[in-house]
Symmetry: C2
Subunit: 222 residues, 2 copies
DNA sequence: CGACTCCTTGACAGCGTTCAACAGTAGTGG
DNA sequence: CCACTACTGTTGAACGCTGTCAAGGAGTCG
């Protein structure tokens, strides 16, 4: 397991006077590992990150995807609860936890209220995800995933997803084959168009069609 | 949906000078509903509580069981994220949120640090549960459930579970039949004894056997 | 005692996994 | 520029775990 110092590329190293420093992580590299001391908090400038847990036999559960503008790696205890990897080449701003949550707060640092809000958002997301993993079928999961990404990317004209089918599968508790089949079902049922190119991108050209998906009577969206 | 005032039984009503008041909820009654204003925080004196989300068609996902000594109903936002019901006749102490988290804190109130710890524990539990729901099979889920309850009840000589098979199933994302079959498999594989009586209780007489279960090489416990 | 709930067990169906083959794309190096 | 490889995604076929449906036993309560 590579430590952070082995993988980051400083583009503007954090001096003692600036709270945040800029770093880059190439695609598919580890940002931090589950159980490591949670010394840093990350803010994504561009790119995307997956956080996940692994079982000893390799089974993986992705807890969340983090996109540009998101903050991740915020811990209250001393260690990261999940591992984090870059999905794409990703630029992040990093702050030392002890400074970000210093008492009294320094300029640009997090207030306790902001920390509470972050943690609450994490809980909300996890609890909605529990319902999805425990009680929704494959097509519902994939549809909910698309809806979530669409909302988080603020319903762009073209929805481009950075993660692979396997990432989506490990997020939704499915196999990548089942995810692929669920996409096919959604396509053939006219829920959205899928003009390709097919490689690592899903392009949704018609926003109204995605809106219709969200209004399925059979689809119990969160 | 009944309001709290319709279901509680005051045994020692909260006066303006005491932070906590005592109340009782009969078995299978609602304590609060998802989306209601989160005006109270609950501390369980005796009994047990389930918190859960429902889909419109009735599918239910239990997020957590709360036992004697546990605190639940703590929210940062304004509304409860899950519904809560008493599993047994349950005695709780209730505090008004605004007083419990008042600034400056009054005597007996929560510090921000304690609140953060509570929220962090909630996140940890949820994220472990995501892995269970997304990536573990039925027998693994039931075994993990037993291990969790055993730990939380501090490995008592006899482990008595207050919840029904259906509650367990809705906690583990299974059906009650599958839970029942998983118990049978664990029993027949000699992991633990199951002498009954069979009604709404699972009695584990041999603690060392439960310990052996936790040490299964094939069982990737959390 | 009768009605109800809870639990177990069997038979069967079905959804999702597993295994496999193949196509399309990107990346690499000659 | 092209050959080669690796990776991603799609699709088919068969399997199997879990869900569904059903029946029956046991305990509880009025």
């Amino acid at each position: 397991m590579l430590g952070r110092s082995d993988t980051y590329t400083p583009t503007n190293s954090a001096s003692k006077s600036t709270l945040w420093g800029d770093f880059k992580y190439p695609r598919d590299t580890e940002i931090f590992g589950e159980g490591e001391p949670a010394n840093f908090v990350y803010h994504i400038n561009s790119g995307a990150v997956r956080t996940f847990k692994l079982l000893p036999d390799g089974r993986r559960q992705i807890g969340a995807f983090h996109l540009a503008g998101d903050i991740f790696g915020v811990e209250n205890g001393g260690a990261y609860r999940l591992s984090a990897e870059a999905i794409l080449d990703t630029r992040v701003r990093i702050a030392k936890r002890e400074r970000l949550f210093a008492e009294p707060p320094e300029l640009g640092a997090f207030s306790t209220k902001e920390l509470l809000t972050l943690l609450t958002k994490t809980i909300e997301h996890a609890e909605n995800h529990l319902l999805l993993l425990g009680r929704q079928n494959a097509v519902e999961r994939v549809a909910a995933f698309l809806t979530e990404m669409d909302q988080r990317l603020q319903s762009p004209e073209t929805l481009i997803l950075p993660m692979t089918r396997r990432d989506i599968a490990d997020y939704l508790g499915l196999t990548h084959e089942t995810v692929s089949r669920a996409f096919a079902i959604l396509i053939h049922s006219g829920v959205f168009s899928f003009p390709g190119p097919s490689h690592r991108e899903i392009v949704l050209h018609d926003r109204t069609k995605l809106t219709r998906m969200a209004l399925w009577p059979e689809h119990p969206l969160r």
